[in-house]
Amino acid sequence: MTDPARGLPAAPRAGQAALRWLLFAILGLFALFYLMPLFVMIATSLKSLEEIRAGSLVALPARVTFEAWGTAWSSACTGIQCEGLRPYFWNSVSLSVPAVAISTLLGAVNGYVIAQWRFRGANLIFSLMLFGCFIPFQVVLLPMARTLGFMGLTGSISGLVFVHVIYGIGFTTLFFRNYYVTIPVELVKAAKVDGAGFFRIFWSVFMPLSLPILMVTVIWQFTQIWNDFLFGVSFSQAGTQPVTVALNNIVNSTTGVKEYNVDMAAAIIAALPTLFVYAVAGKYFIRGLTAGSVKG
């Protein structure tokens, strides 16, 4: 910044202010560009079908109606059934909650072991887990289908939970491991001398330290699992499909007229939980990603 003591002339300062406004203007434009689709979605979902056909895409609704939302939630057709998104929404809830919880917990324990109980081969195992993060979904589809069949979990919600847990462990382990490496090893030593064992140290010393990274992991995993389509469509059957698959079916079912307002409402409903999680825990996300070593 300019130093008043040096008595700089006013011109550069004015120039800087102008630059700053230009920057804001550009950033504002980007933000608008990003928000545009959301605006169109919300506006459209609140319009009636006639208005959509008559009016412009970006116009505000002349008469706000929540009819489309009601339809999307409880009576839109996903193929032959016409129960709306509701049952699938609950499918997604009952698959993401345990999948997020289990994968996060396993990741925490894994990260704890790899970072703090350095055993022979720990680095190799960690590298292999990291490698797991980079395996594309498509590659595991067939083997996973066989595995699920073998385990008797084909088409079930438990099967989907299993898939997401397995696929998520690499990421969750990475998060926790990187967080726990920054914690001095003397903490474990002190707890050992105090008489605590492996799990006691984990629960009493490490878990209470882990809120920031726990938030990061939960948000990450929830977003991944809730938004997943490929595993959902591959490993579910009628009745166990997650909301993303149902949304696809609503939008693609081509009986009668295309109900854009219902499609938009359904898409927003499907996206709401992740938005909600960001709104509630987003600040921890930033904090957790930047959080580092623990000072005594």
């Binding site: 903490l187 030593k189 008489g195």
Partner: protein
């Protein structure tokens, strides 16, 4: 009396690297054993081995007469204070101090009573509800001590507990630890790289270098009769003068001749030793070189020396003269007339002189 701690032939490898070699050390009940040595010599590793936090590659460790070589840390009846304190960041001070007892299933009422006792002893009663992050360095240090003290173990282990404190606080805490030791009558093993800390606290000092024990003895023994050049140089501040010299027979004693650039050699006669090899290193503490006339007795001999530097240090004044190719420090009284560039008669007191072999570094007398 049976020693509380007894280490026999201990070896420790990290992979292929041998960190500790054939360590034999023991601590008497109520003793204060100090492990001292330069950074990286393996002090912390040895302490961790005693605690059971590092498996050892050979030898045995007995604590309280019991073989604990393969016993886990929690069952060794020890308490430890770490260099970084290692306080549990999410627990209050009270939580930190009582965690060990909680884990061991000590009754709640007993926990509360012991917490109060220790808090009073260490004067941290007003801090019990704080988190470690809300404490100053000195306060953290006390909490770390408190965590060890509540346990009432057979053996206390301290890993450089004062190294993170500022100089003044360090001196204060040093005294406090000394007092604590005599109050408790406990056996302690204390790691430091600070030789003054070692001298002031220890009843017994172990000097380590590169994972090998150099000397074990009382502070006075280590100070007055260092067993080799390394110990001589490491212990004491300012360090012992180690001056290369020529030795030859002189009647029943030995004639020591020290070369000087631009002057006649200094000749000292030591009547109490013979049979030294031709080349020796003469070890004289700065306090064994005084201003002529201020020191009398057997073995005190004088020589004119050119003074290179004068360093007043309050109670004493240190002067440096180039003798035998070494900067030799002498400790004079504060009012000395010595000036840089002038000559001064110095008295060399051979009463406590050490001789070392220049090639092996071993002590010769």
């Amino acid at each position: 009396m049976e020693p509380i701690l007894e280490i026999r032939n201990l070896g420790k490898n990290f992979g292929a690297v041998e960190i500790l070699k054939d360590i034999n050390v023991s601590a008497e009940p109520g003793g204060f054993l100090v492990l001292v040595g330069p950074s990286g010599c393996g002090k912390s590793t040895l302490l961790n081995c005693i605690a059971g936090l590092e498996p050892i590659s050979g030898g045995t460790i007995h604590i309280g007469g019991r073989d604990v070589t393969h016993v886990s840390p929690k069952d060794r009846n020890i308490a430890m204070v770490f260099q970084s304190y290692a306080l549990y960041p999410t627990m209050s001070v009270a939580g930190n101090i009582t965690f060990g007892m909680k884990v061991r299933g000590v009754d709640k009422a007993v926990r509360a009573r012991k917490l109060q006792e220790v808090a009073r002893q260490l004067q941290i009663e007003q801090l019990l509800d704080r988190r470690p992050s809300q404490l100053s360095g000195g306060q953290r240090q006390r909490v770390a001590m408190g965590r060890a003290l509540v346990r009432d173990p057979q053996l206390f282990l301290f890993d450089e507990p004062l190294s993170n404190l500022d100089a003044k606080l360090r001196v204060e805490m040093r005294l406090e630890i000394k007092k604590l030791h005599s109050d408790l009558g406990a056996t302690m093993v204390y790691v430091t790289h600070d030789q003054i800390e070692a001298m002031t606290l220890a009843t017994r000092i172990v000097v380590l270098k590169d994972g090998v024990v150099q000397q074990v003895g009382s502070p006075a023994e280590i100070y007055n009769r260092p067993t080799n050049l390394f110990v001589a140089d490491f212990m004491g501040s300012p360090a012992m003068n180690l001056i290369p010299a020529r030795a030859s027979r002189h009647g029943n004693g030995t004639r020591i001749e020290i070369e000087r650039a631009g002057g006649p050699p200094i000749v000292l006669i030591d009547g109490r030793i013979d049979g030294l090899p031709g080349d020796v290193v003469v070890g004289l503490r700065p306090e064994d070189i005084a201003e002529a006339g201020f020191r009398a007795g057997d073995g005190v001999q004088e020589a004119e020396c050119l003074i290179d530097m004068v360093e007043p240090a309050g109670a004493d004044t240190f002067v440096v003269s180039l003798i035998g190719g070494k900067q030799v420090t002498a400790r004079l009284h504060a009012e000395t007339e010595a000036r840089p560039g002038s000559t001064l008669a110095l008295a060399f007191d051979l009463g406590k002189v050490s001789y070392f072999a220049p090639d092996t570094g071993e002590r010769l007398n």
